[in-house]
Symmetry: C2
Subunit: 209 residues, 2 copies
Amino acid sequence: MATKQIKRSARDKLLDAALKIIRAKGYSATRVEEICAEAGVTKGAFFHHFRNKEDWGVAAAQHWSGMTGALFEGAPYHRHDDPFDRLIGYVEFRKAIIEGDVEEFTCLVGTMTQEIYGSHPELREACAASIFGHAATLVPDIEAAMAARGLEPGWTAASLAAHTQAVLQGAFILAKATGDRDTARDSVDHLRRYIELLFAADSKAEPTG
Amino acid sequence: MATKQIKRSARDKLLDAALKIIRAKGYSATRVEEICAEAGVTKGAFFHHFRNKEDWGVAAAQHWSGMTGALFEGAPYHRHDDPFDRLIGYVEFRKAIIEGDVEEFTCLVGTMTQEIYGSHPELREACAASIFGHAATLVPDIEAAMAARGLEPGWTAASLAAHTQAVLQGAFILAKATGDRDTARDSVDHLRRYIELLFAADSKAEPTG
DNA sequence: CGCAACATACCAACCGGTCGGTTTGTCTGT
DNA sequence: ACAGACAAACCGACCGGTTGGTATGTTGCG
């Protein structure tokens, strides 16, 4: 199933190069010759596989969704019996993979969204699908945890799931600003604390209407 | 002190253009001729006032700091007597100014940081100073609120202040992805609820070590 | 006058995209 | 087993518009 061919095609190499370069310097500043050099192929190969640069960007976003999807699907936090534990496990897993250089742990589609949301609708759509598709995987566990505690709060499971992604995206920006992983990890700690407080305040009245 | 000249100089116009264009399409994709057109000046004026594009970007970040600094300094939430109320007031103010098109309420320096953190150190420094300089204005109120409730938690005032900025930056990304203001406002609601829960759980033991 | 604030004209490098050609693999008939 | 046909994968020179930056005026104000 996995890595069925030893010889990676030019397309695959160009997509892997996308992850590295876009996360390091953004979509707009990335030149296609630079992509080709990183991938070790020529410009001809690039335009054989992709109609244009945006087409490559869309494919990169989909490639990213596939890779991250597999990563989270195989992550250990799913083993917990309690849905709340799985949710906390997810957050801790997100914290744990904040490792190495900034361009290694930041989010491809979040970075792209910033630059292209107004000028490349197709690409924006692909990025949005990646972010919210991932957020949707959290919803069942959140709903189950809510039901288990009999919570009927002023927020929805989908909204909390989206919020986790907002915190992570924002944490990445701060880490880029400081150049320090710990800046991002601190925000993930706050996110974990928030979720714990949300589900601890089970029978109490909500402070916010 | 403020707006001492009716005739805005080319420099001011170029800086105002920066806010509009960079927020709409990012730093890299913004062309200097486009900046000049938006500002209604010529390229000669641009390179008279700025050594190069990056120099202009740094000035834009500082201009942004000055503008937002004045905005928040004059905001009504400072009138509250209680520091906790001021903190909540700040969050609500941030929610209230999420209005109009996406490029009108998103953050200039957050957008820039994403693209240039690895390639333009001076610009990154200016953006980081803007973000964390703003976060620092929240620290006294957070500390006062902590002291008033006798909180000695596992988190610091500076860390919570930084987290507020992370949530806001992340909320902006999600709003760019969906094209909908409400996506951002939802995360600000979660942020408010988190702060309320933090300060409500005064005498209780922290769930997170 | 003299200097700063602008305008105009221009350039060399760059960059996305094209195009004709070559290599590599696969399918088919014998 | 093998040659021929065909297509997809890939190459790299080339093009034309664009872009950051410069060189050289011109204007206006103290």
